[in-house]
């Protein structure tokens, strides 16, 4: 399988998306919500905590909440780009020439998934990096020993379940592309789908208990979340690939 053809599709899609100002800045804007919320929350806690012990307990409790939130915010741009990937091509009449090229269904779909996966992952990593650097800086400024927010278990969740959820989201959007005519319909569908996809990502939050958290429970819930994300990806990709139908894509025009 020539993955390089998929990369050509992904790179060109990305180049086109980034040439449109409102897409580029819109994506950055949506993704910036995550780090802004993290930094605001952490900042308020650091500067209002009565002492270091209480601060670290509160921060530990924040972990299972903040990591899923960052992951969820990264899914939103992924769904928007993916919604545009095939339906957008159809709407602007560029789909037919693309389908006439020797791309196989698999190459085309991988290309389209990558075109939204790459920027989504870049934005997710960027938002995590900004959050970590920002919180460490605030700890140091306030005179406390720095700690990671999200913590190690949170980072593990973001870097494993995050990409899987983005891939699953992109796959489901490919599946939707064969059933809607217009981009705005795909956006509406993506909104509804994001709501469903939120559920496994908030699983770690149930490990929160009053007065502290059990690290073993956090790791256990992380593993469950990753397994759910992996299963979602396998099922959605399988459906997207097996149901992809050029005839339907063209006939829907």
């Amino acid at each position: 399988m020539a993955l390089d053809k998929s990369l050509i599709v992904a790179r060109t899609d990305l180049k086109m998306a980034l040439k449109v100002g409102y897409v580029k800045y819109g994506l950055i804007g949506i993704t910036a919500i995550g780090p802004i919320m993290v930094l605001a929350t952490v900042g308020i806690i650091i500067f209002t905590a009565p002492n270091a012990t209480e601060l670290y307990v509160i921060m530990q409790m924040l972990g299972p909440t903040i990591s899923p939130m960052l992951g969820l915010i990264a899914i939103i741009p992924a769904s928007l780009i993916a919604a545009n990937a095939l339906v957008g091509e159809r709407e602007q009449n560029t789909l037919e020439p693309l389908l006439c090229t020797p791309l196989t269904d698999r190459e085309l779909l991988i290309g389209k998934v990558l075109s939204s996966f790459i920027p989504s992952i870049a934005l997710l990593l960027g938002s995590v990096l900004v959050s970590e650097i920002g919180t460490i800086s605030m700890f140091l400024i306030a005179g406390y020993a720095p700690m990671l927010v999200p913590d190690i278990s949170g980072l593990f969740l973001i870097l494993t379940a995050g990409p899987l959820m983005i891939l699953a989201m992109n796959s489901i959007m490919i599946l939707i592309s064969g059933r809607v005519r217009r981009v705005y319909e795909a956006y509406q569908m993506s909104g509804a789908t994001v709501m469903v996809f939120i559920l496994p990502m908030i699983l770690p939050m149930i490990t929160l208990e009053s007065g502290g958290i059990d690290p073993a429970a956090v790791w256990f819930s992380n593993i469950i979340t990753i397994l759910i994300a992996a299963a979602l990806f396998v099922v959605t990709w399988g459906l997207a690939y097996s149901r992809f139908n050029r005839d339907r894509m063209v006939s829907l025009v």
């Binding site: 050509i8 040439k19 037919e96 020439p97 006439c100 090229t101 791309l103 050029r246």
Partner: protein
Amino acid sequence: MDEVSISGLTKNFGDLVAVDHMELSIPAGTIFGLLGPNGAGKSTTTRLLSTLLHPTDGTAVVSGFDIIENPVQVREITGVLPEESNHTIYPSLTAYENLEYFARLYEVPKDEIHERIEELLTFMELWERKDDRAGELSTGNRQRLALCRAILHRPKVLLLDEPTSALDPIAAKRVRELILSLSQRYKQTFFINSHNLPEVQRICDRIAIIDKGKVVLHGSTRELRSKLLAKQEFRIRVVGDIGKASSVAKSMNFVEEVEEEVDSISVVIENPLENNSTLMQALLSNGIKIVEFAEEETTLEDLYLEVVKGGTA
């Protein structure tokens, strides 16, 4: 050897039969024209051949590859100019980037990509605008760019849907020249959908007329021309009694129609090559002085209209 062979090709959209058991064969190197009124099934046929649509029944073989069994191979050796192709260009990419993208997807050798793009854009007088966003180009320029995209990878078979529909006469002439030149240089086979009958008549070697998804006439342009010539209209300008000239013409069994005008009669003659001189002699022997005996120009359009309206040629 046939480059395109269509057998029993059928495509239904629900209850609508867009292409109905089509049978066609197109020899390699042919410039083939598919004519038909709107909704006749021309674009659907092109989409079936380009593997965009899956046939309901029947199949087609393009350069040895079956459109159902080997769709990727078919797409490798075909170049497609879709309907309203001026809208099928990526507007946010430059003219150059549009072609480069497709050159890579068609696996044009990397060291040839720039050269081929420059050659084509120069030929189409678009090289100066290579860095302009395609969305800023005029309709005609976008159409030319789409044509460049279709031929960039030097396909064996070109499927062109209304290739000159959005072009001014000069650009349309250049496209026709390009088609003829490519046909001569690379022996490519062209499958052209068009409403532009004079254009089809000018460049196509073979023609088929379809109506309601069925091929109603198929043959070489020469054959179709001879069908036209089997019955032809002439205008005979005479000095003297028009009524008498009309009566003489009507008395001939090979004259189908006679129409009197101010200083002439119009007649439709069967097998004119054999019968013209007989009619002339008859008129002269009846004392009618002939000033002009002129052939009324008959075009493919006449045949097309006759076939589509009458259902037979």
